[in-house]
């Protein structure tokens, strides 16, 4: 290789290096506005109003270092609202409001306002599933009331309500009175043969979180001296402002939002939600409270469960059988009755009855009131009797509310935690 050729190659390689550093679609991190939550509401003008929560990384960094001290002065996020005839129109319009480009890949939740959800969300979901950066692991939820307000909620100790709500949904399985579904599963159910999804329900609570400050304020006049009085006055003042600062909205995540096709039908309360979770086999852990042998309360923690939905055609009539097998830990005893192999079967029956009650509540509302097959009974028939399903598919909406559902629950008590008996005062005779 001659020297000239080598030089030529070196220059060429250097040019390539220049090309490497840049490409068309590059985006630098400090030009990006990272979206953590999206709220969609139906505006009075019938347009989709979209609110997004954007992170201020600078504030987060400052807080992490323990600096600042501004306290509530600088929030770690800002909200932007835009509206458009369609979802994508609203999204792109943000570029007229935000100095930074939207970055959707780290979004955690998408909240639909009640009004919008009642009108139907299929068209909005279309756009969402076309968007390449919006991942299908985001949580889908419906707000009772306006979705926008949920993004403004404050959830200590997190700085970003959307992220905090994401954590709450992940932690729901400890109590199992709320529903959680991600976009991927929501779409899977919506396009399946029982196209009635269920989403999380989130509600805003307007509540003062720090009541003590207000009590101090009320009986603040004491026998204290002047100097102390001043100090107290000062404290009160601070407490009052702080109290007001903290008198922010908080959210509560209970129940479920029930859809029929893509339209919101209504809400499930925690009991009905739990019934639904039992049927769907999504129950993880939950507290079951029954009345013990002496009328005292006994609490059990369900730790493991399995459900099976089996359709049966009996004398030409379709019957659904829901079979549930579940195991409990003995969690709490308000009386002083120890569990013995003799009384366990009776108590197990009571637990099963309590679960059955949850399930019946869910069925009553879902089947009779909303007439929405969220339980996946239609899909179960499709799976087991594909031929017959073709015949009744068209009439399923009429058939479903009259469907006979047999519920069978088998409960077992397995363990009792770290002690054998309640701490009876004076001990056992």
């Amino acid at each position: 290789m001659s020297l000239r050729r080598r030089r030529f190659l070196t220059v060429m390689f250097l040019i390539f290096v220049l090309l490497l550093s840049g490409c068309w679609s590059r985006r630098e991190i400090d030009d990006l506005a990272i979206v953590t939550g999206i709220a969609l509401d139906l505006g009075p003008d019938n347009k989709v109003h979209m609110t997004i929560q954007l992170v201020k990384p600078e504030v987060l960094a400052k807080r992490a270092q323990g600096g600042g001290g501004g306290g509530n002065a600088d929030k770690a996020y800002w909200l932007l609202e835009s509206h458009g005839l369609t979802f994508v129109d609203a999204v792109r319009k943000f570029n007229t409001l935000s100095p930074r480009q939207l970055f959707l890949a780290h979004n955690v939740i998408i909240i639909f306002g009640e009004d919008l959800a009642r009108r139907g969300i299929a068209s909005t979901l279309d756009r969402i599933s076309r968007t390449k950066n919006l991942r299908r692991t985001i949580w889908v939820m419906v707000a009772k009331g306006k979705a926008r307000e949920v993004l403004e909620a404050e959830l200590e100790p997190e700085y970003l309500s959307a992220v905090a709500i994401g954590h709450m949904i992940e932690g729901r399985e400890v109590y199992s009175q709320s529903y959680g579904i991600d976009l991927k599963d929501f779409l899977r159910v919506l396009t399946g043969s029982s196209p009635n999804p269920v989403a999380s329900r989130i509600e805003l609570r307007k509540e003062f979180t720090n009541r003590e400050f207000w009590e101090v304020d009320e009986d603040g006049q004491g026998e204290a001296g002047q100097g102390e009085e001043d100090a107290k006055e000062h404290i009160n003042k601070e407490a009052r402002t702080q109290g007001r600062e903290q008198a922010k909205k908080s959210v509560v995540l209970t129940g479920a939002a029930v859809f029929k096709k893509d339209k919101l039908m209504g809400w499930f309360d925690p009991t009905e939600t739990r019934g639904l979770l039992w049927i769907q086999g999504k129950m993880r852990r939950g507290i079951i409270i029954i009345n013990g042998p002496e009328g005292e309360k006994m609490a059990f923690e369900s730790i493991r469960s399995k459900s099976e939905v089996v359709p049966k055609i009996h004398q030409g009539k379709l019957i659904m059988r829901v079979k549930i097998d579940e195991e409990n830990d003995f969690a709490e005893d308000m009386g002083f009755v120890p569990l013995t192999p003799e009384n366990i079967p009776g108590i197990e029956k009571k637990i099963a009855a309590a679960i059955q009650k949850d399930i019946e509540a869910a069925l009553r509302k879902g089947q009779k009131e909303y007439k929405s097959d969220i339980f996946g009974f239609g899909a179960a028939v499709h799976r087991k009797y594909p031929q017959q399903w073709k015949a009744i598919k068209g009439r399923w909406e009429e058939l479903f509310p009259q469907l006979e559902v047999q519920v069978e629950v088998k409960s077992k008590i397995r363990r009792r935690g770290m002690s054998t008996e309640p701490p009876k005062p004076g001990g056992k005779e």
């Binding site: 679609s25 991942r135 299908r136 692991t137 991927k184 899977r188 396009t191 799976r383 594909p386």
Partner: protein
């Protein structure tokens, strides 16, 4: 002409990725649109058909272990018919190269860089495969030996991570609509596994031609297995209707992976799989097409053709389709039949002629 030799193992590794390359990304959508929850059965059926075809291809190839299909087609079918069959075969491989050069760009513009002109991706891919093809079969063989294990490892990692998101009841009812949709759906997978017909050109360059039989069966077997498992998973995680609706289901499968809050957003790995797969697929198709063309024209060497032909193919890739809708419609409905007419039609025809005329170059 080509003087290099590869091992049967290298040929196998080349064929595996040549089939999976774009198949694993595009096929599930085509097939699920027909067969819905039974798409995995379609893949199974398509792969079994592919294995049967492999038998025919190998039988023909090993009758003439020192010649390529272009060379013996004239000998078998006479000059005119032989030449026509030859150009039919060559054109298919070249057209497919341009088709997948376009696909390569479509995927990247859709998924990662929407503003970048698609031509840029296509040119870069064509530079890469032209370079490899220019290097010859030995270079390609070594590339495959290096990249294919990584490729398959990544596929298996991604599949493994989404096991926990599977809802097995989504796979039922099995054949709820009878076997009709399954058969209809099996045509694209059959057309893809039939890519093993590239062996008709590769056999003379394998150092021990007899081993190409086992290598080909292995290649189609591995591909079939990965196809079936991948499709089952896509349906179980995303739902059959969603698979039929999504542009790239496999991408979503990886993008929804979420393990214990720390292992998520692994879709960058998808890019590695896509780029590697498409690159090797393009290498194989381009090589087979070019070498065939130079033999068809009775040239001394195929290398002078590499650059001009790649320019043609990139341009063809651009003018061939207006939109991804056209690509998908052609890919799912027209292309498989075209592919099978070449990949299955030519070897079956030639094998029958060889039998009837009792021709063979084996001593």
């Amino acid at each position: 002409m080509e003087k290099g030799k590869i091992t049967a193992r290298q040929a196998m590794l080349l064929i595996i990725v040549a089939i999976l390359g774009d198949g694993i990304f595009f096929l599930p959508t085509f097939v699920a649109a027909q067969a819905k929850t039974d798409a995995w059965l379609s893949f199974l059926l398509g792969s079994i058909l592919g294995l049967l075809l492999t038998g025919i291809i190998i039988k023909l190839g090993l009758r003439f272990p020192d010649k390529t299909v272009i060379q013996y087609s004239e000998e078998l079918a006479g000059t005119v018919v032989g030449k026509l069959l030859g150009i039919w075969y060559i054109a298919f491989f070249l057209v497919t190269t341009s088709y997948l050069t376009r696909e390569f760009g479509e995927f990247l513009t859709t998924v990662v860089m929407p503003e970048t002109p698609i031509l840029i991706f296509m040119i870069f891919l064509s530079i890469a495969y032209s370079y490899a093809v220019y290097g010859g079969i030995e270079v390609m063989g070594r590339v495959a030996e290096f990249l294919t294990p990584i490729y398959i490892f990544l596929l298996i990692v991604m599949m493994g991570l989404s096991v926990k998101d599977m809802n097995l009841q989504e796979l039922t009812p099995v054949m709820g609509n009878g076997i009709g949709p399954v058969i209809k759906g099996s045509i694209p997978p059959f057309a893809w596994t039939a890519n093993v017909s590239a062996m008709l050109m590769l056999i003379p360059f394998i150092n021990q031609p007899e081993q190409s039989k086992k290598a080909s069966y292995m290649a189609v077997g591995v591909v079939g297995l990965l196809f079936v498992v991948n499709t089952m998973q896509a349906i179980a995680v995303l739902g059959a209707q969603e698979v039929a609706r999504l542009e790239f289901p496999f991408f979503h499968l990886a993008a929804t992976v979420r393990v214990a809050n720390f292992l998520e957003r692994i879709d960058a790995l998808i890019m590695i799989v896509w780029v590697t797969g498409d690159f090797i697929r393009a290498c194989v198709f381009y090589y087979v097409g070019l070498l065939g063309l130079s033999q068809w024209l009775k040239l001394k060497d195929y290398k002078p053709l590499v650059l001009p032909m790649s320019l043609l193919l990139v341009s063809l890739g651009i003018v061939q389709f207006d939109s991804i809708m056209e690509i998908h419609t052609w890919g799912g409905q027209g292309y498989p039949f075209y592919a099978l007419s070449v990949e299955a039609g030519i070897p079956i025809l030639l094998l029958i002629i060889a039998w009837v005329r009792g021709k063979s170059s084996r001593v």
